[in-house]
Symmetry: C2
Subunit: 316 residues, 2 copies
DNA sequence: CTAATGTCTTTTATCGTGAAAAAACAGTTT
DNA sequence: AAACTGTTTTTTCACGATAAAAGACATTAG
């Protein structure tokens, strides 16, 4: 797993920095965008729910906005004084969770090649290279282990299982099992279920994307996830829903990594989605099954062709 | 999740005890049992693989055995001097992993009632009640989360989802999907595959247990797990194999907790297993499917009836 | 009297630290 | 020279401590 001597990659000052205030910074940035729209901000609890943070954080945000002259703040009155400038925002890098930083670093190493199956993963080394504490790395590895790419040796190191052809096949096998079942459950949902409206909206987005595919083809990956998650949710089974995290994670990195014929692939996928949606709306189980199978088959094919042979040989 | 004020349940001395040497103690105990059989112990590396620990730990064990007069140790010669007495063993409680201690504590609270869905879990409180550090509790909760019984609110507490009827149904739905597929894969395995010998051995154990069911009915749970794991392994899919951890965990606690008609239930199950094994050996996919379905149906029924209604109403 | 703000307490996230355990290295024995 | 023992270095595991963030309580405004 060795990669570079040190260079303190994403790390900041090495001193006893306990916890970054990325929650505050991220919420602050999002709050800035809110400023554009209104002349005055809502109450503290309301802002809290809007931004998904506690009132403590909201108050820190307001305090800084007052300091930098963005708002005038007196009890309930929070009047916007000026529009936010680009330099009001905190830099993007400072708004990331530690978990995100670690995941990115780890996946970069994993996909950068040289990461062969059977190789052992060293918590301490990883922590040092990324510039974080060992605890965070351990917790990340534990969470990450459910993706089936790494495995722990009791009282000892982690072992990389490798992003192999076998992995892709096992993953897609489950995916197909789960999605076929979910799609059938979806089609059987009563007409007054709110999911039909959700599906309608997604269909519109797909049609829009289909028209602008030449320029916006990279918008597909996000739409893809939303669409499949909607379908999986119809299973009403937490294990099926949760398993989509594995798929989403793999496809997320796969999209970043395999850019070959991206436009063409996505164009085909959009078309398959539209046919799939049509089938769901028809509520004809036979059609749903066929459309689902067809799409999943080509998704699997895409994933498989993107795995270089060098990565798919080993198996200890 | 509140349960008791303090009472320092499983806890030891509260002081800065960094890491318990349970690996050493457990290996020591197991090594004592080895002493009964031979007049002299093998080499250090050999002992290491035998006990599943490093040579460092082996040497600590040998050092203590020498001290307590169990063996004479001089380089390669490790002669047994006397048989181990009961007081040579470390107490059972001291050989448990921290993870096991936490899991037991946590499950006791969960099943002891009063643990209703929606309730929030407090890391700090849990750590204090069990008498361990917060880090270990956090790591446990992260690992435990894959069982689908708890869920994390970002930057905040964990939420108990509850051991409800819905949970049991979702669990068994996946189980049935996976096991039917695994069983079919099993039956399709070539005649020279080693699994057929494993199956044969398991069949013998089942027949033996069937004869002595009145006295040994509690030996079933362990046999049950071995049998189903063998079948799941035939899927050659890590997600299917890993999912059996969820099932095993639930059934493990379920067996401990629901003692109603245990003998009868296990007797029936042994019979179903034997029929299931027969079907597998016939390699007739229709028969396999039928036998598997029948057994899984009654397993589900057993699990469902053991969930009290009080636990199955809430859902926030 | 409800819903906000102001203040104080508790919990979570993360680090550095030190003992237990593993692993690597070096020197012996057969 | 292969496999073992003796020694040293690294890594894992678990803890307490501390800043960030959440949450609870008290007070005040509408």
């Amino acid at each position: 797993m060795r990669f570079k001597p040190a260079a303190a990659s994403a790390g900041m000052n090495g001193s006893g920095m306990s916890k970054s205030n990325n929650v505050y910074k991220d919420a602050y940035n999002r709050c800035l965008r809110l400023l554009d729209e209104t002349r005055s901000l809502p109450s503290e609890p309301e802002l809290g729910t809007l931004l998904g943070v506690s009132r403590t954080t909201v108050r820190s945000i307001l305090a800084r906005m007052e300091e930098t002259g963005l708002i005038a703040w007196n009890k309930r009155a929070k009047t916007v004084l000026r529009e936010p400038r680009p330099d009001d925002f905190f830099p993007e890098e400072e708004t990331d969770t530690l978990a995100e930083i670690i995941e990115r670093s780890f996946m970069r190493r994993l996909l950068a090649g040289g990461a062969e199956a059977g190789m052992q993963i060293n918590e301490l080394e990883l922590a040092r290279e990324i510039g974080v504490g060992t605890t965070s790395v351990r917790e990340f590895l534990i969470r990450f282990s459910r993706f089936g790419l790494i495995e722990k040796r009791r009282n000892s190191h982690w072992v990389l299982k490798g992003f192999t052809r076998a992995f892709a096949l096992e993953l897609t096998e489950i995916r197909e099992m789960f999605e076929l079942r979910s799609a059938a459950a979806f089609a059987a949902l009563p007409q007054d279920s709110p999911v039909w409206a959700d599906l309608e909206r997604l269909e519109d987005e797909h049609r829009l994307l289909a028209r602008e595919i030449t320029t916006r083809f990279n918008a597909f990956s996000e739409l893809d996830e939303r669409f499949h998650r909607l379908i999986h949710r119809a299973s009403h089974n937490r294990f099926i829903v949760d398993f989509y995290d594995v798929i989403a994670m793999i496809f997320h990195y796969h999209y970043q990594w395999n850019k070959a014929q991206e436009r063409e692939r996505n164009e085909v996928a959009v078309g398959e989605h539209l046919a799939y949606i049509e089938a769901l709306k028809s509520r004809d189980l036979g059609k749903v099954d066929a459309a689902c199978r067809k799409h999943l088959k080509s998704a699997r094919q895409t994933l498989l062709t993107s795995i270089p042979e060098s990565r798919s040989l080993q198996k200890p």
